[in-house]
Every structure is written in C-alpha cells, then in structure tokens.
C-alpha cells in the first residue's frame, strides 16, 4: 500500500504538461522504480503523481537522416539495451543500463527516469555525459534543448522546473562516431545495487595519440561529473601506463568524493584512480587501439 494522494493518468503530452503545471507537488511517474520506493518509505513529496505511461510517442527509439539518435524518455532500460540502433552506435549506453538493478527493474525502469531522478549514482549518467547527450524538454510554452552538461544541479536536483516534461534524449553523430567507449560500475555486489563509484570514458585517437578524452564519474562529486583536468592531461599522448598515471594524478583536481558510512573518502579516491586507468584503457581498446 502506498500513500498516494492524487493520481492522474495523462492522455497526451499536452495533457501531462498541463497536469504538471497545475499542481506544484505533481511528480511524473514513469517506470516507478524510484518513485514507488520513495512512497513506500513515506516520502510526502511523491504523493501527487502524473502517470505518463499512456504516452506511447515517448517510447520511441529512432535515428533521423542526419544520424541523430533519439531515445524517448519512456523507453525502458531493457528496450534500449535490446535496440539494434543503440547496440550498434551507443555500446556504452547498453553497458551502463545493464548494470541497473536486476532484470525486473530494467524491464520497467526508464533511462529518462534514471536521469531525471537526479541521483549522484545514476548508472546512465556517465553514458549521457560521455556521449554529451541533448535532452529535449517541453512545457506549455516551448520545447527546448538542454545539454546534459549542467542538467544536474545537486544531489537529487536538476534544472527541470514546474510544468517541464522531459521527452527524449538526442545523441548527435559527432558525439558517438569514431569513439571508443567503456563503463565500469564499482558496487558492493553484482546486481541490485547503487554504484560506489561509476566511471565512463570515451576516447578518440589519431596516429597512436589521444585526440579527445571524455571522462565521466558518478558518486565522485555532488552531481555526475566530467573531468576536464584529466581529459586535458592525455591529449596528444599514447594510452600507456605512464599516461594513465598522469590521468590519475590530474583527476584529483576534478573529483570531490564524500566520506560516508557507505564508503570512506580515501577508499573512494583509490577506486576513482584505479577505475579511470582501467576504463580509459578499455575504451582505447574498444576503439581498436592497444595499451
């Protein structure tokens, strides 16, 4: 039994937006794998629900003529994982979503919800940051494009405002082509867990040297982050043990891990440095390079 105060099943996108605008307490429920857990815990912020499960247009996964890939926010993790477009072009999205919960959770949880939830540990956040996804957001006045960079504003907080409905991810071809990518979720068990640290990397190389690195972490700062200092440190260098050590050193400028009962700061820092080296190496290998 859940303490639900108000429940509205939206018939159209416009209908959903109107309902979200009408009540400042209104919250979207998609897969429900976060919302229902909070309701079970008695969280009063989730008592008024706008259910968007009737909005089939938000489930679509497609590619347009220019190579932009769109993933609707209502597509479940399992649908995304199994989709040929995603498998072919966005392997790190598949890799990340496969680490969420267990099969039952992935069958109902959505990637849109995983990002909107604002969790510092969101498994899809590293993929969103490495592929520099654009988020399509609608409200009653307009549709806007919001970069994933800057979308998360703090633990559990995003730029979404009253009446905003996040409808789709857009991934541009220049963000996913010719890039080797990899993700590693470091957690205390092999499934049904939140990341202690998550690390994703995208690498582009020319003539044996790194031309671009995108390095992202979850649970390494108050929001999912990119690592500009570390990314800078590898440019023009080959991916070898020495370079990876330089990345690990430069990372300290980028991350701010917490000290908590779940894991100590020193431990998290050690894992962050270890993962950066492992994941960048793997991303380079996926590109066809060698260590």
């Amino acid at each position: 039994m859940f303490p639900i105060e108000k429940y509205y099943f939206a018939a159209t996108i416009e209908d959903a937006i109107a309902a979200l605008e009408a009540d400042e307490k209104a919250r979207v429920i998609a897969g429900g794998t976060d919302v229902l857990v909070r309701l079970h815990g008695g969280n009063p912020d989730y008592g008024c629900l706008v259910d968007i499960n009737g909005l089939d247009e938000l489930r679509q996964i497609s590619m347009d003529g220019e190579g932009n890939i769109f993933i609707g926010t209502l597509a479940t993790c399992s649908e995304i994982i199994e989709h040929p477009l995603v498998q072919e072009h966005l392997p790190m999205v598949v890799q990340s979503l496969e680490t969420i919960g267990g099969p039952q959770v992935r069958n109902t949880a959505t990637m849109g919800g995983n990002i909107c939830n604002g969790a510092v540990s969101a498994d899809s956040a590293c993929a969103a940051l490495v592929y520099e996804m654009d988020l399509l957001i609608r409200n009653s006045k307009r549709e806007r494009i919001q970069s994933i960079n800057g979308f998360h504003t703090g633990p559990g907080r995003t730029v979404l405002g009253r009446g905003d409905l996040f409808t789709a991810f857009c991934i541009r071809p220049q963000k996913y082509r010719n890039m080797g990518a990899s993700y590693y979720k470091y957690a205390m068990r092999g499934a049904m867990d939140i990341a202690t640290i998550g690390c994703g990397a995208g690498v582009r190389m020319a003539d044996g040297a790194v031309t671009e690195l995108k390095l992202a972490f979850t649970v390494a700062a108050p929001t999912p982050i990119r690592c500009p200092h570390a990314e800078e440190a590898v440019l023009g260098k080959p991916v070898n043990a020495e370079t990876l050590q330089q990345v690990a050193d430069a990372l300290l400028e980028d991350v701010r891990p917490r000290d908590s009962w779940r894991a100590g700061k020193e431990f998290r820092l050690h894992i962050i440095k270890t993962l950066a080296q492992k994941v960048i190496g793997q991303a380079a290998e996926n590109l066809g390079g060698t260590l």
Partner: protein
C-alpha cells in the same frame, strides 16, 4: 526402498504453482491491522506520549501504549520449557516499553481497519524521550561507567569449561602458541516471508493464533506466560512458512496479536511486519569478539584450543547465552584429542536483539578457531590440510562433552575428498610464485556440529499414523516443515518402515497445537534426527496392526506375513500378494465384527546427539587494486550420516553455502557507535549477495551410518553455513599474505588491509 532416493517433495507442486497458503493468504471478516510505533532513538525513557492525533483518524480502532500492557516480563527464545529454574530463558520483555533499548523499540501500537490507516496513525503518535547514554559495542556495554540497559546490569552470563585434560599442561606441551582476535558482524536472516501473525477468540473461549513460526508448541507456552493464560486455552496454527533461518525460533508477534484480540473483544487482529521492520526489529545474528589461541607441536600435533567469546546479544536476551555455549559444546567434536578450554560472556547493548540464526553461534566460533588453527599449521610449516588430517576426529574418539564414542565420524574422508576435488597439491604448487596484482589462493576450514540440543534441552518428537479407508496413510508429526523438507524425508522414513509407497503417505503439513503431536519445532538441525525414532516406531506399530488384521482376514499366521510396496505378502514369497492394502483397509473400517481404525501414535525422547562434520575448500582470486575477492571454486563436504533425500540435501547445502558466502564477503548491519542509529536496515544497503555474486556451488557427502538413528542420519540443516568464512579468509591469506580477522571481508576492509600492508 525410498530412503536414499529423491522422490518429488511433498509440497513442491503446490509451491511452484502458487497453491500453498501462507499466514498472509488467510483473512477473516472484520480483521483489523496493527502497526507498531517504534522509537526514534536507541536508548532512553519515554517522558510523554500523545495518541490523540492518531485516534482522531477515521478507521483507527485503538491505540495502546506501554501503560496499557501487562507488567509481566516474559522470555521469547524458542527453547523447550526447562524444569530447572536456573536453565530457563531470561524473562526481560514486556509487550511494549517506556524504556527503549534500541533504535526501533516498541512503545505503542495502533489498530486500524487497514494497513495504510494504521501506518498513518502510527506516525502521528507523538513520543518524547529522556535520552540515555548509548552502548553499541561490547567495549562500551561492558565498561564500568556503562548505563544499565536492564535492571540487573549489562552482563547476562559468563561461563567456562575445559575438556580433554589440563589446559596449562597442553600449553606447556606446545612448541608454538598462536593467538588472534576475531570479530564478526550483526547479520540478518533475510527470510523471504516477513514475520506475520493474526489472532482471534473462537467460540469456545480459546485464543487462536495463526503465525509464521518455527515453534508452534513453544509459542503456545510463551503466549500463555506473557498473558498469564492457561497454556491449553491457546491454539497456535502454523500454515506453510516462507523461511525462518532461526528468526522464527523466537516468539515475536504472537503475544501482541493475542493481547490485541483479547482487548478488542476477540475480533481478528493481524500484525504483518514490513521488510524494514522485519530486518531490524525481530532478531539478528550475534556480533562476537572472539579471542582464540591454538598450541601445536612441531610434529603437527594440536595440543590446545583456548577460545573466549564475547557475545553481543543486543537490547534483549532472547536466546542469550545459549548461543556461545551451544557453539562451544559442538566445536569440541572436531579436534577431540586436543585439550579444549572455552569461556564466554553474553551482554546487552543498544542494538537490535540477537537470537537464533542458522548454526547458532558456530559460524562466528569457527571463523576464529579455523583462523587460529590455520595460523598454527603455517607457523610450524605444515600443509593446512595435513595439519587438519592429523588432528581431526576419527571413529572411536570421544566426540562429545558427554563422553560418547559410538557415533559415526567421517571428517577425515571429507578432508581427503575435498583436497582431491579442488586439486589442492597441484594448485598449491602453481600459485607458489605468483606475481602481479591479481592473485589466486586456496583455503580450507572444517567444522563440527550437533544433531539437536540434548543434553542441554529435552528432545521430544511425536508421530501419528492412520491407515485411511483407501489403503493410504495419513501422517501427522510435531516436526515443523519450514521449507527445509522435513515432511518429505519423514514421509520417506514412514514409507520405508511400513513397506508402502512414498506416494501413499500423505503428510498433514499444517501444525495445530490442539491437534498435532507434540514436538518443540524446527531448530538446532534436530528435526530429521529427533523425529526419525518417532516415525520409525509409529510405522512399526502400524505395520504390526495391519499384519494382525491381515492375519484375521486370511487366517495366515501373522509371522508369515509382511508388507511390501503397499501389499500384504508372504514373508518368504514377497512377490505373492496375499491381500491388497485397500481391501484390508476397507475391511478394518467396515467389517461388522472385526478390526477398527488402524492407527499408531508415538512420542519419543531422544537422549543422544550425533556430531556431524564437514569442511569447505575454496579457491579465490584477489584483485588487489580493485580490493575485490572472486570465488573461483568452492566445495562443501559433509558427513551428515545417511542422506535421506540427496536432492534436498544438496539444495540445503547450496543455500547454506550462499548464506555463508554472504556472511564472509558481503553482509553486516551497520550501526552508529555513538547514537545507535541503524544505517542500513533495508535490502538495498544491507548487502545480501545476489545470484550474480554467488559462484557455482559444489558439494559432496561422505555417507556414514550413525547408529543412534534408525535411518543412520545426522544433522544437515545448519552445518552448510559454518565454514565458508574461515575458508575464504584463509584463501585470501594464501593469495596475498594478508591476514584478515574480521567479517565481512568487503572491499572496504580489504582496502584498509592492503594499504596497511603496502600493497596499494
């Protein structure tokens, strides 16, 4: 012959098709739901409590507080009643309390028309406290200045014993003496079905309780004690149950639902704990600090084991001091030629109450014992398996504190078989000179256990058999089926002794204390061992009555008749059917001049306790940089006597191994040392391993025949969980050179150890 085969479990078709009914599947018209109001602090006195807002909610029937409950302290441990006042369980509970002793203690209870209303109302009960200092750890609780958690102080009991000789002499005889301090965490049972119970008054003025319990007959007695009622006026019914692991070998909800229905005029009242409540507000496994010493001679002879256990039993005694003492008496069976000294202290603290949990203190104890035994072997430069082979129990050893020598002992064969199965020598050589940061290692650890509680407690079991009109047999036992498969193996035994098909035996699975024969329940891995003689004797009796009636019907001399595959045959010509059992049954019921309903009923007290044995062999791979342990191979070897149902036995071992791995590498309830606040009382943050974390599990049985059981069987319920922790610990040591003395060996623990060792 059905014993030793694996017929389809009695309950399995119903279970996999969702037809079995559990406590929560039953409902009654007008049933009310109750919800506890729990303390938000770990230690303090309630100074005021305001229930008016809760009572104002529509649908709330009543709110009771600590002021409304009987002032009778009662014990909760699921032990048989003891005639010896000094051996009775500690009576330290009230139904509700104004002296809260852990974060989540019960100060009031709301009764409402549905769960959600009860939940909402419970949140509106306003409680104010006068906070008291909090003791979480053993050190804090045992400190001189520690506040008394119960009126008698924080120490519950201290005891000690020595067997096999003089410990001082044994120490002097040793060339090396190793010592280690080992710590183990608070562990949660995490059974699938949360605690749930309901009660109502029937029209006979009897109180009826339906509960998910391992101990219906004990529950009846404790509710009687708590509410000061005649025990016979309480009727406890146990339907199918979704696991307990010892957490339902305690009386948790039953006295409260009984109290509530009496207060509310006999209407049915139900209490169903939520998962989070069930995790921290039922019982836990004791956290222990164990100082262990082992003395050995250079030739490999173990001369001394000296173990001291400090056992943190939390806010209430529950099973209390029985936990370290039971483990202490069972571990003496393993190395019986060494002198053993054992001492233990149990104490209160401001953490959830610890009670019975699968293997009852032995996993903690053997973590220390097999850790320090490993150290002794390494110190004298002897192979870990060789050292254990030299010192382990063999047939003819005195393997118990009571001096018995008659039992079967298959420990040596377990070690030998495990050593071969994991290719110990070959891998030892291969891993001797490893380099890099990903390292492999091998570990072994042994255990010994008992097959019941005798002579500490009475062991009583009952069986009733009835020949039905159609020639099948109904069996009622006091043995409590809790998913472990007791109905199945007891039916196999009955079929075997009667000489009828397994399928012709129907077990009445539901326990009902008004109807079923007396048995104290499912715990201590006793059920198969202590029920076997009752089943055997009842089957012999019924068989005798059947053959007597066959003789009456046929005129053939009784001595020439036998029962085989459900037919009366001539003993010397088993293929020649004298009489089908169906025909005999109809005759016994309906012949106007002879026969009657053929039944047998037996109650037996078992006055032996067969030791069971086994060990775990494990190969691990340790990733130093990632601070992770991966189990490459793990094998459990068991001497559980004769295996009655091999497939169920294997399942029992697999489940135990998975729980043992959980304790070794994943699980711990985290409690703030200062405030007693529980951090991870939910299944996301309390990390039981998932199927992704459990490797392929191997097991094998060394079949012995224990002469004290009519079917040769010994315990197997709890033993499979005991030896994974020390085996994995020893394997990590083997791989990395780093010795860990604490469970669970999580990445965080490995990180600090590896850093200290300069590995990272």
């Amino acid at each position: 012959m059905t014993v030793g085969k694996s017929p389809i479990r009695k309950d399995v078709r119903a279970k996999v098709t969702g037809k079995t009914r559990y406590t929560d599947d039953f409902t009654m018209p007008g049933m009310l739901e109750a919800k506890y109001v729990r303390s938000s602090i770990a230690h303090g006195r309630v100074t005021s409590i305001d229930t008016s807002a809760a009572l104002a909610i529509p649908g709330v029937e009543a709110v009771f507080t600590f002021a409304d409950v009987p002032k009778t302290l009662f014990p909760t441990a699921g032990h048989p009643y003891s005639l010896d006042p000094d051996h009775q369980d500690v009576a330290d509970r009230l139904l509700l309390t104004d002296h809260v002793r852990y974060h989540g203690d019960e100060v009031a209870i709301v009764v409402a028309r549905d769960q959600l209303t009860a939940h909402k109302a419970a949140e509106l009960v306003l409680v104010e406290y006068d906070e008291l200092p909090v003791c979480v750890t053993s050190a804090a609780a045992m400190a001189d200045e520690a506040p008394p958690i119960h009126p008698g102080g924080n120490t519950i009991k201290s005891t000690s014993f020595a067997v096999g000789g003089d410990p001082k002499e044994a120490e002097q005889a040793a060339d090396v003496v190793c010592e280690g301090v080992f710590t183990t965490p608070v562990i949660l049972h995490c059974h699938l079905e949360n605690h749930t119970a309901y009660a109502y008054m029937d029209d006979q003025n009897h109180l009826v309780i339906v509960s998910s319990t391992q101990i219906p007959h004990i529950c009846r007695r404790i509710v009687g004690q708590a509410l000061d009622m005649n025990w016979s006026t309480i009727r406890v019914i146990k339907p199918y149950i979704g696991g307990g692991f010892g957490n339902k070998q305690d009386v948790v909800l039953e006295p409260m639902v009984a109290f509530l229905t009496r207060k509310l005029g006999g209407v049915p009242v139900k209490l169903e704990l939520e998962r989070e409540e069930c995790l921290v507000s039922t019982r836990t496994r004791h956290a222990q600090t164990i100082t262990a010493r082992a003395g050995a001679q250079n030739d490999g002879l173990l001369t001394l084991l000296d173990v001291n256990v400090l056992s943190n039993t939390g806010a209430y005694a529950s099973h209390g001091h029985s936990i370290p003492m039971a483990a202490g008496s069972k571990f003496c069976h393993l190395y019986p030629r060494a002198v053993t000294q054992f001492s233990a202290t149990s104490h209160y603290a401001n953490i959830p109450a610890a009670g019975a949990m699968r293997a009852y203190g032995s996993p903690q104890l053997f973590f220390a014992v097999e850790g320090v035994v490993e150290e002794a072997a390494r110190k004298i430069g002897m192979d870990s398996v060789e050292f254990r082979l030299k010192n382990s129990a063999r047939p003819g050893d005195i393997t118990s504190k009571t001096g018995e020598m008659l039992h079967s002992v298959g420990m040596i064969e377990c070690l030998e078989k495990g050593r071969d199965a994991i290719e110990w020598q070959k891998k030892k050589k291969r891993y001797a000179d490893q380099e890099g940061t990903i390292l492999r290692g091998l570990g072994v650890a042994s255990f010994s256990y008992g097959s019941g509680t005798y002579p500490a407690c009475v062991e009583i079991a009952g069986c009733r058999l009835v020949l039905n009109q159609d020639g099948t047999v109904h069996m009622q036992v006091g043995a409590t089926e809790i998913g472990q498969g007791s109905d199945t193996v007891l039916a196999q035994m009955a079929a075997e002794t009667l000489g009828i098909d397994y399928d012709a035996v129907h077990v009445v699975s539901e326990q009902d204390t008004d109807v079923t024969p007396f048995d104290t329940g499912a715990y201590a891995s006793r059920q198969t061992y202590v029920a076997a003689p009752a089943v055997h004797d009842a089957a012999e009796q019924l068989k005798g009555k059947i053959l007597d009636h066959a003789s009456l019907m046929t005129g053939v001399d009784r001595q020439q008749l036998d029962l085989s595959a459900g037919r009366v045959v001539r003993g010397d010509q088993p293929d020649q059917v004298v009489l089908p059992l169906e025909e005999l049954a109809l005759d016994s019921y309906y012949h106007k001049d002879r026969g009657g309903q053929l039944t047998a009923e037996v109650s037996v007290k078992t006055r032996t306790n067969a030791p069971s044995y086994g060990c775990t062999f494990v190969e691990v791979e340790v990733d130093i940089a990632l601070c992770q342990v991966k189990i490459i191979e793990i094998i459990n070897l068991h001497d559980a006597g004769t295996i009655i149902h091999p497939l169920s036995a294997e399942g029992q071992v697999h489940g135990g191994m998975a729980m043992g791995i959980g304790m070794a590498l994943f699980e711990e309830l985290l409690i703030d040392d200062e405030t007693g606040w529980i951090y991870n009382g939910n299944l996301l943050d309390y990390k039981i391993p998932t199927c992704m974390d459990i490797p392929e599990l191997d097991c094998a049985f060394i079949q012995t025949h224990d002469p004290t059981s009519p079917y040769g069987n010994k315990s197997l319920g709890e033993p499979p969980i005991i030896s994974q922790g020390p085996a994995i610990r020893n394997a990590i040591w083997d791989a990395t050179g780093v010795k860990i003395q604490t469970m669970p060996m999580t990445p965080k623990v490995l990180f600090s150890h590896f850093r200290e060792a300069g590995l990272i």
